[in-house]
Amino acid sequence: MAETITLHDIVDKTSDLPTLPAAALRVMRETEASTSNAASIARILAHDQALSARVLRLSNSAYYGLSRRITSLQESVVVLGMRCVRNLCLVASTYPWMSKPLKGYGLGPRELWTHSYGTALGAQMVAKRCGRVSDETAFTAGLLHDIGKTALSVWIDDKASLVAEYAARADITFDAAERKILGYDHTEVGEFLGARWNLPEEMVLAIRGHHDPERPETASLLTDCVHLGNYLTMALGYGLGADGMHYLLSDAALERLGLSDATLEELAGPFVAEFEEHQALFDDLAA
């Protein structure tokens, strides 16, 4: 297994580490500003040609069922709405690297993407049901919650089954096994990455706390939403890798949000339906 490594080692020495385009981050912030409009969003996106092209292509996806073709970014915002284009930016930014296999976590092509998008959907649904957390923020935090795995995967490499077996033998969670063996777990690496990307602090804390929502330093209703969105995604079998469901489920997170386990069961059907409906969008992403 790897020698003692630091977070800087993990992040700095891992090749092909993902980045979030500056334009995507700026769009995220701009959509929260009261002065934002279609023109301002389009101007920001125009600085990143590759991202712009992907957003435009996704805007014309069969998923949206538009009767006419969208030909400009500004039109995309007008027709689809600011929130939708914001999410398309995030999706277009993250899909390329989230669709790669992660050997260290036993995830094949597109499986990290499946799990991350599922958690984004789940966290958004939980936030909407609770009514006290921005569902847009929950979507983004859910989408990015496992970014730490992209870096840590290289260090686990082909030892994924050993980490899982250690967790089972020691009767501890997978993230606890990561800390024992590697010194860090994927939420700590995710926190480090998220801070480096200048993500909003509440999102960085939710990434750090998504497996342990009782942890005081990262506790928040947003963290609870991501935690439960993650559980819903795992329970429904989306993107389960070597770590499977070997994580804690917090009943207290449900209570804090004013929800119950019956709420999660009610969300199961709509979750699966919405995920399957998005398949057309995923196919366009892959094209």
Binding site: G241, G244, M245, H246, L248, D251, E265, E266
Partner: protein, 155 residues
């Protein structure tokens, strides 16, 4: 020689095949996949259930609904329901939880039958499963482990 009908079972869905069948399903988490086979009529039915009981919000197949629908579909396809041999796979649970969905699904299944020919339930790993009517084998891969045979629906 009749062609084997290959089916990928999706969540919330029920599939019925008359004749040679090869059914595969991936992404089994806390839900339960039911597979039933009747050798005389060569009818195979399979369902991927998500919840322990019918939900008022609809749109999610419960274990009880899946069982009933499989039996109904099998009978409609010409099978003797009493001769169906059943397999159940899934019901993974998270760590340290007392009210996990997987546990509830197993409880719902237990209320329906205590005579399953093949099972692979519980644990903390996602599963992929397959059934081949030519051999009767129900195969399961849990997590990143090796595929293994958990039972036979022709024996």
């Amino acid at each position: 020689m009749p062609t084997t009908h290959q089916t990928l079972l999706r969540r919330n869905h029920v599939e019925t095949v008359v004749g040679p069948a090869s059914i595969s399903v991936a992404g089994i988490g806390a839900g339960i996949v039911l597979i039933a086979y009747e050798p005389v009529s060569r009818v195979t039915v399979a369902a991927h259930a998500l919840l322990p009981s019918p939900c008022s919000q609809g749109r999610a197949l419960s274990v009880a609904e899946a069982w009933a629908e499989c039996a109904r579909a099998a009978q409609e396809a010409g099978a003797d329901v009493a001769s169906l041999r059943w397999a159940a796979v899934g019901a993974a649970v998270p760590y340290g939880c007392q009210k996990a969905l997987g546990d509830k699904n197993v409880a719902a299944l237990s209320a329906l039958s205590d005579a399953l020919a093949a099972t692979d339930l519980g644990g903390r790993f996602g599963r992929a499963a397959s059934f081949d009517s030519a051999t009767g084998e129900v195969r399961v891969r849990a997590g990143i482990g090796d595929e293994r045979i958990v039972g036979n629906l022709r024996d």
